[in-house]
Point group: C2
Chain length 211, copies 2
DNA sequence: CCCTAGTGGAGCACAGATGTTCCATTAGGG
DNA sequence: CCCTAATGGAACATCTGTGCTCCACTAGGG
């Protein structure tokens, strides 16, 4: 029943119609990711052009800009969750698992930059409640604390912040300066590793100086 | 001569006029920082409201949106440079100097977030060529490399990227989760310290895995 | 106290983005 | 091969943000 409603027209078979439409839909979403990751205020005409479709067609799929953004958000979240699944966060040593996640997320490229350039795209509330990736990452960090392989003074939320901001730094590094993706990822992983490593002994060596 | 031109009207004394105008100008710039740091696409009416002035007045100071952004950019750059000067990057051990810079920049608050939400505000070309802060930071990192107090596998540009992205992470941390500024700065400094610390011995322990 | 710089509001024109409709054309499945 | 879903383009109304003008009002300095 739902599938008939989703298809905008009454058809016998369900997937046959989807062929062309699914392809167009993907092209639009991919274009939206590319365009909006670089200029979050880009017009729908820009997105349509990048997707190689007419503005009218774009409107058939997403009657309002908000609907495109909603779909984009869902797509981004799904890809991030998929990356988390591929990383198998519950297996092996915590630091290694975290690095696998970092690599998988790095591969998402423009999708990452979308999240940064449009924070409203990923509502923090929804994210923390619905995202499996968030929960898995929290579990991972807590496991690392228990194992003694991750710095126990860094709570899961901060580790997540650092992971994302280092990924942003890495991609920005490739965009602005002519640095290879490989080099950027290397720096990113190396830095992440050092941040989360359990500090051997001398903790809080230099406390914050209040001015 | 220039001061008469800057005053938009022919006056005998120069600073008398500036009193009111300078106050209004600052109010507008401060409001622009606050508003645009949270929503980079905010309208000029929003900025005027936040500044407590009419839209007409805002137009008298900045006839076009671009001019407001230019002034905003100059203001932001000046504040960043001032923060760098206060940090005395050329004095003392390199890691400590870097932490002083981090603290000074952290205090800039919304100004930082402006730079992130509107990367076009700070053109990388202009920044690297004109900013004294950039040069001082580069010198600092190179000094740290020579001293052996900073990880020599991290080039100055990457250190700068990490510094900024950690600052972003810290502020985001206070905004989204109810974390005190003090705690956020503490996490930020601790993380920065670990990233830039010269690795004792075992470098490149775990190279990037190409998939 | 008076005068002028500074301000605020209303109003107007313009530009760009958006949402919508209609029609001609094309591609792909039955 | 034929038919229909799918598409693209043109045209239109609307809306928002912007840039600009004019006029009335107010506060602060001489």
């Amino acid at each position: 029943m739902l599938s008939r409603l989703a298809g905008m027209a009454v058809r016998d078979s369900v997937d046959v119609e989807s062929r062309a439409r699914a392809r167009t839909r993907r092209a639009i979403l991919d274009a939206a990711i590319t365009v909006l990751s670089q200029h979050s205020a880009a017009s729908l005409a820009d997105v349509a052009d990048a997707a190689g479709v007419g503005r009218t067609t774009l409107h058939r799929y997403f009657p309002e800009r908000a609907e495109l953004l909603t779909a984009l958000s869902a797509d981004v979240l799904a890809r991030i969750d998929a990356a988390a699944v591929r990383s198998q966060l519950d297996h092996g040593p915590a630091p290694a698992a975290l690095e696998r996640l970092c690599q998988e997320l790095f591969e998402l490229g423009d999708i990452l930059m979308c999240v940064f350039s449009q924070p409203e795209l990923v509502d923090t509330q929804t994210w923390e409640e619905c995202s499996e990736a968030d929960k898995a990452l929290t579990r991972l960090v807590e496991r690392g604390h228990a194992e003694g392989t991750l710095d126990s003074t860094l709570d899961p939320i901060w580790v997540q912040q650092v992971l994302w901001s280092l990924l942003y730094a890495a991609w920005q590094h490739t965009r602005e300066h002519s640095v290879s993706k490989h080099r950027a990822l290397d720096l990113c992983l190396r830095s992440l590793r050092k941040v989360v490593a359990a500090s051997p002994g001398r903790l809080a060596e230099r406390p914050v100086q209040d001015p």
